[in-house]
């Protein structure tokens, strides 16, 4: 007897998405952030914890601009990582490992959509808005920036 198998696409569970994000952040840390570590330590002197560093930056505004420049470079490269991979493959490394994909709700899938949906990942405040939106509107399974970029993260499930 031949069984008919269909592939069903459904919104990816939050846990899978969370793990995919953590994997991506670790890879970004290794590939993009690592070369800047020495410079950051050189600017701060030594890493003595969040509160000390915060106070240090308040007292040394000229160094804030140095760190801001580094943050901008790291942010831009991280954004490029997600945008390029998701545009080319519909998946970042984290998503490949967790077996989830980005889909466009429109007919075409553009690089601009990838750029917009990922911009919140490199700006903490926007990421916070994104996560709050996602938790409030759980039914949609979309972050705010996914909604405005008309994209959704899905997983494929085999159904017999």
């Amino acid at each position: 007897m031949v069984k008919r198998v269909t592939i069903e696409k459904r919104p990816a569970p939050l846990l899978k998405r969370g793990f995919a994000y953590i994997i991506d952040v670790l890879i970004i840390d290794l590939v993009i952030v690592l070369p800047f570590n020495k410079i950051i330590k050189n600017i701060q002197g030594n890493d003595a914890g969040f509160f000390y560093n915060y106070k240090f930056l308040l007292n040394n505004p000229e160094k804030t601009s140095q760190l801001l420049l580094i943050s901008l470079v790291i942010g831009a490269l991280s954004l490029a990582y997600w945008t390029i991979l998701e545009f080319k493959l519909r998946q970042s490394i984290g998503k490949i490992i967790m077996n989830i994909k980005v889909m466009s709700k429109k007919k075409n899938f553009s690089a601009m959509q990838c750029f917009v949906r990922n911009i919140s990942k490199v700006i903490t405040l926007l990421l916070l808005i994104d996560i709050i939106y996602l938790l409030i509107k759980r039914k949609n399974s979309q972050r705010y920036f996914e909604k405005i970029s008309d994209t959704i993260v899905t997983e494929e499930v085999l159904k017999t």
Binding site: A48, G49, Y52, K63, A80, I93
Partner: protein, 304 residues
């Protein structure tokens, strides 16, 4: 193209770009930031090892200070070092190790004594190129203490006897469970005198003073900053500004950013310190002595 091929190409490309940009940013940072002066704090009792005791808040361990000095020496942007001292002293070996590391430093080291820079802490300060002290700070106190708690009368009261078999006459000298006899006292006093003599010798060399003059003032008494200046134990009276200006002058730089080297405080450190500070100062003498005795179960020399 294969999915993983694309992933690898993207990662390599981003890695190379990131590496190249880090060079550009580094040049920009160095140019903008320029010279730095490292501030290394020496707070509290100076000990050889970092204390892991929950209720012990001893401030500075030799390893931390020597590591910080090494880091400052290796960092090309650091042009001078300031030791921010607020310490009553510590063990002889710990103080000597730090003093030697300070002496060996190739970059100019300035000591800045705030409230207290006594005994072992003063030994360290004297090994730097220049000493700045607050006018009302406590400095000097050049002397050696050998102390421990002795429980023999208390044990007798409760009917506890102390039996120890030793192969040498002096093997159990300094045991808290028996009184010292005259010969043992003489032995320990001779060690203390030797350390004192070495201490005086070091201060005389470090401060370029005559040994006899140092001997006269090395009676264990502390001196206020203003008195220490008159006696030649410090070079200048002042605060952080004076220390920074001197460090800049010795390093031959006009401007410098200050970088403080601190030990990273864990949550456990913050929690234990907040509890321990109160009780430490209430029973400082008893608890500190007892703790040291219990930890080492040996006679202990302190440059305090």
């Amino acid at each position: 193209m294969n999915k993983w091929k694309i992933v690898v190409i993207v990662l390599i490309a981003l890695g190379i770009i990131s590496y190249l940009l880090s060079f550009l940013v580094n040049d920009f940072s160095t140019e903008k930031i320029g010279n730095k002066i490292a501030i290394i704090p020496i707070y509290g009792a100076i000990t050889l090892n970092e204390n892991s005791n929950f209720f012990d808040i001893s401030g500075t361990s030799t390893n931390n200070i020597i590591d910080a000095l090494k880091k400052a020496e290796e960092d090309p942007s650091i042009k001078g070092i300031i030791l921010e001292i607020n310490s009553p002293g510590g063990t002889v070996v710990a103080s000597e190790e730090i003093a030697n590391a300070v002496k060996k430093a190739k970059k100019p080291v300035v000591s800045w004594i705030r409230e207290e820079g006594a005994s072992g802490a003063y030994w360290i300060a004297s090994s730097s190129k220049y000493v700045v002290a607050d006018p009302f700070s406590i400095t000097g106190s050049i002397g050696v203490i050998g102390s421990y708690l002795e429980f023999s009368d208390l044990m007798k009261k409760y009917g506890i006897s102390y039996e120890q078999l030793t192969s040498g006459e002096y093997k159990d000298t300094g045991s808290p469970f028996k009184k010292l006899n005259d010969k043992e006292k003489e032995l320990l006093q001779s060690k203390i005198n030797k350390i004192h003599d070495y201490f005086v010798d070091e201060i005389a060399k470090n401060r370029n003073m005559e040994k006899e003059k140092v001997k006269e003032i090395a009676n264990g008494a502390f001196y206020l900053g203003i008195e220490a200046k008159e006696l030649g134990l410090v070079d200048e009276l002042g605060s952080k500004d004076e220390a920074v200006n001197k460090a800049k002058e010795l390093a031959d730089i006009k401007d410098a950013y200050l970088v403080t080297y601190r030990r990273k405080a864990s949550f456990f450190d913050l929690f234990s310190n907040s509890i321990a500070y109160g009780s430490f100062y209430v029973g400082k003498g008893i608890s500190y002595g007892l703790n040291e005795q219990l930890n080492n179960n040996n006679f202990d020399f302190k440059a305090i």
